[in-house]
Symmetry: C2
Subunit: 110 residues, 2 copies
DNA sequence: CTTGACTGCAACCACAGGGTTGCATGTTCT
DNA sequence: AGAACATGCAACCCTGTGGTTGCAGTCAAG
């Protein structure tokens, strides 16, 4: 299902979302408290529509969630989501080094 | 200095490098052992030149290092580098959740 | 009811960048 | 020396996408 895909999102999609300056500006801004697209547009040097697009991307990978607050839509950052993928990356990196060390070890014992 | 910048590389540059499918193909291939650009081009469905560009990007953020092996240039993935940024991401995510929880706590006690 | 503010959709522009082909230049091996 | 393979550089194409402007719809407040 797509619901699972949303939460499980591939690491590359997540990294792609994180590989953009403006998106980090938005995320760090949200890190100080929930905010709507318009509110973010006021404190960042980009248009509201641009922000909306970025929020859509971030929402797609599950880095933010929406909270209806009256007539406006507030966005909340989900730190746990970032931490989760971070742990996956850490595991991957560790695995690489472990495997290459093993190869090196084998090569030395010939 | 730029030397420090290379090793310290911004998180966004790192994520940008990791936000690309082909680059992950290269990295996972390198995870199974060092390889040259030509060797990678043989087992991946892209040109050697494309691979070379990707390797340049990965090298710039410090995810791979070069090892001169005879006439060819072998590339080695640096898992520790990935793990390091992963831990930084983890810390950021944790900090977000911590701060937002604090805000929520304050709001409730009014 | 009207005004102001927030949202959403669509068209559009401009640049970055992933991918290719082509060529020139080494470097190992026979 | 010559063949075969590896690298490096440059020009080029084309899609993706960050950003903009413009407009229409909605909802709260005066």
């Amino acid at each position: 299902m797509s619901g699972r895909a949303l939460l499980d999102g591939s690491v590359v999609a997540m990294c792609n979302a994180l590989g953009e300056e403006t998106r980090w500006s938005i995320l760090t801004a949200l890190g100080e408290g929930d905010a709507s697209a318009s509110a973010l547009a006021r404190r960042l040097p980009v248009t509201r529509q641009a922000i909306a697009k970025h929020l859509a991307v971030l929402h797609e990978v599950g880095l933010v969630e929406t909270v209806q607050a009256g007539r406006e839509v507030q966005y909340r950052v989900i730190g746990a989501r970032l931490s989760a993928t971070a742990r996956r990356l850490d595991a991957i990196g560790t695995e690489w080094d472990r495997r290459l060390a093993a190869i090196k070890h084998i090569a030395e014992n010939i």
